[in-house]
């Protein structure tokens, strides 16, 4: 199994897609709940597996293009088939996933094996009929959106009009129409005329869930810009600029690096955005640009270890964050296979661990605690024993239920609320 690089539920939560470093996409489908086994509340089983992207070689630059899937985004379902966008560093693809459970039988001109029948042997005409067959799930690439990005694509986002989507790389954001693959509109371009002056890059971007003219993008300097596509074709000038003033007492050489935003997500309501930087998760009200309304510490005990984390490159890890269906709880990952949930209403938070050794299937997860200094209680883990190679970067939350998917390196964990 390869390292999972993205996890995403579809709009109903029936399907869960994962992308990995080897360019594969694996889709899980939730079982129908049966009256016979009510305690098995809809488990997820593998539905389809396909190779989305292959490694490529750019001959002109003498560089390999990784096949790692950076993001998967589902389209809302409009017919029996499912559609999703998957992207690597350079190319976005639209995949159609459909079921086939019947096949036509009784052709006149060919037999069951497909071989052509001798026309002279045909004496009777018949109408082919559809007969049931074993369920087969096929994935076919319907569109390939290539050659539009010089830099690495970090985000894709489907617009609420369901006709367009955007893809963002380090310096540019392009707007696509699903039907057109040979053209895209550039809507944001922050590349300086002189690359020597480059000090800031785009780190994530997303469309507003309801307003198809609005999107946000975050930067490596910890700022978020909200843009309105109605104002101009090129949205280099933001409509809103979100930045928290720096706390001078906390300033260090690593301040900028840890302020770099690794993920930005609109709430389902569209009223808030959530951003993740290295040590915190912040919730912003779209109506207030000068500071976030909520800040949650994910793993503040790492603040004194920033130098080591810089040395081993962990400080550049890009963690994602997610809202639950009602926007009341937010979740993000950490190290040592820990992930954290924050309840925005009760202000309570919990640290859980995704690991086989420390929890049995169907057992309730035990809250974990990291001990910062002094005496370490039993069951606590000291900061120095944390395993920084076990990082949870990608998580997903079911759109309406309390079911979460957590990717721990090359393992996928699915957790559900316990129901009595």
């Amino acid at each position: 199994a390869d390292i999972i690089s993205t996890v995403e539920f579809n709009h109903t939560g029936e399907l869960l897609a994962t992308g990995d470093k080897g360019g594969r996409v694996v889709i899980f489908q939730r079982e129908q709940e049966s009256k016979n086994q009510p305690h098995r509340r809809g488990e997820y089983n593998v539905y389809s597996t396909f190779q989305s992207h292959e490694p490529e070689f750019d001959y002109l630059k003498s560089l390999e293009i990784e096949e790692k899937i950076n993001k998967i985004r589902w389209l809302p379902q409009q017919n029996a088939a499912y559609f999703l966008l998957s992207t690597n560093d350079k190319t976005v693809k639209l995949w159609k996933v459909s079921e086939r459970d019947k096949r036509p039988e009784g052709y006149n001109l060919k037999d069951e094996d497909g071989r052509l029948r001798d026309p002279s042997m045909i004496t009777v005409l018949r109408v082919p009929v559809l007969r049931p067959m074993d369920l087969m799930v096929e994935a076919t690439p319907r569109r390939v959106f290539a050659n539009a990005h010089t830099y690495h694509i970090n985000s894709i986002s489907v617009n609420s009009d369901y006709e367009t989507y955007m893809s963002a790389d380090d310096l540019r954001i392009n707007l696509w129409n699903f039907e057109i693959t040979n053209q895209s509109f550039n809507i944001v371009d922050i590349k300086p005329a002189n690359m020597e002056e480059l000090t800031e890059v785009i780190t994530a971007a997303e469309f507003h869930p309801h307003h198809c003219n609005t999107f946000v993008y975050s930067s490596s300097k910890g700022t978020i810009r909200l843009c309105d596509m109605r104002t101009s074709a090129l949205c280099d000038h933001h409509a809103k600029f979100f930045e928290e003033p720096e706390d001078p007492s906390n300033r260090s050489f690593f301040s900028e690096i840890i302020s770099s935003i690794s993920d930005v997500k609109f709430s389902h309501s569209g009223r808030y955005i959530m951003t993740r930087d290295y040590l915190t998760v912040k919730v912003w009200d779209l109506n207030m640009e000068n500071r976030p309304i909520e800040t949650y510490q994910v793993h503040d005990y790492l603040r004194s270890k920033l130098c080591s984390l810089y040395e081993n490159d962990c400080i550049f890890d890009k963690f994602e964050c997610v809202w639950n269906g009602s926007d009341s709880v937010i979740m993000t990952g950490s190290y040592n296979n820990f992930f954290r949930m924050f309840d925005r209403n009760t202000k309570r938070d919990v640290t859980l661990e995704a690991s086989r050794e420390n929890s049995k299937p169907r057992a309730i997860l035990k809250p974990r605690k990291v001990c910062v200094g002094g005496k370490r209680r039993k069951d606590e883990i000291s900061v120095d024993s944390l395993d920084f190679s076990k990082k949870i970067l990608h998580t997903a939350w079911h759109p309406s239920e309390n079911i979460i998917a957590v990717a721990a390196t090359n393992n996928l964990y699915i957790f559900q609320d316990k129901v009595n």
């Binding site: 560089l63 010089t150 480059l198 001078p248 300033r251 004194s304």
Partner: protein, 249 residues
């Protein structure tokens, strides 16, 4: 705070020498670690450049950190490029306690006036003439390390080195940019000769620093033997590769 702790001791006389000496030993530690952070960052940047597909976000963040250190060192007057070995202090190995570097910068707290680039040498010379014993008693604790260091450590012609350094930093971005040329002509354009400076500078640093912790450095060929052509070489290899493909087709 680390430096504030030194303020409590006034240089009174011989009884306090030991305490002060301890203070002296402690102060260079911040600069030492800052220097090693700078070294480490430059190595990371160099590595960025050498990787197949440099991660632009990472490169930009590291470059910004380097600029920040450079600016602070300029303010401090401790800008110096090489020869940490001459003082018997290796750099990366000493990055033991992260406390000091991770604390907030004392400069901000003190609201120091930033000397401009053009007046840099003048300030430096002015400081050197001051009596070190006098400066130990001044209220500004930042003055103390600067003058001590000017006595202890060798100072190169900082102005020139800064210029080279800034240029070299720019080269990295230029080359990152040049990785994606718009036309074939760009590929075959002349290699920028000033790029040699970055290599010479880093070579000088590399031979003096230990690289115990960075795993990626295993792929970094021994700098002691490379000539200033080494970076030119990677570009030339690229050209060779392309010519090869063209010829074969």
């Amino acid at each position: 705070m680390f430096v504030r702790g030194l303020k409590r001791k006034c240089f009174d006389g011989e009884e306090d020498i030991e305490g002060t000496l301890a203070g002296i030993k402690a102060i260079p530690s911040y600069n030492l670690q800052r220097q090693s952070l700078l070294d480490m960052s430059l190595v990371k940047l160099q590595l960025c450049h050498m990787l197949v597909e440099p991660n632009l976000c990472r490169s930009v963040l590291i470059a910004n950190t380097v600029r920040q250190i450079q600016e602070e060192m300029t303010q401090d007057g401790t800008w110096q490029m090489i020869n940490t070995q001459s003082t018997g202090q290796a750099s990366l190995d000493r990055l033991v306690s992260t406390d000091i570097l991770c604390r907030s910068s004392r400069e901000q707290a003190e609201g120091k006036h930033v000397p401009g680039y053009s007046t840099f040498n003048k300030d430096f010379e002015g400081d050197q003439t001051q009596d070190s014993s006098e400066t130990m008693s001044t209220a500004s604790s930042v003055q103390a390390p600067r003058n001590l260091q000017s006595n202890v450590w060798e100072m190169e012609n900082s102005q020139e080195n800064k210029g080279n350094f800034q240029k070299s930093l720019d080269q990295i971005f230029e080359t990152l940019e040049n990785k994606s040329p718009n036309s074939v002509e760009d590929l075959f354009s002349e290699v920028d000769n000033s790029y040699y400076d970055l290599d010479t500078m880093l070579t000088g640093m590399m031979s003096n620093t230990k690289m115990g912790h960075c795993d990626g450095l295993e792929t970094f060929t021994s700098p002691a033997t490379t000539t200033s052509n080494s970076n030119c070489k990677s570009d030339l290899n690229e050209l060779d590769h392309i010519v090869e493909i063209l010829v074969e087709s």
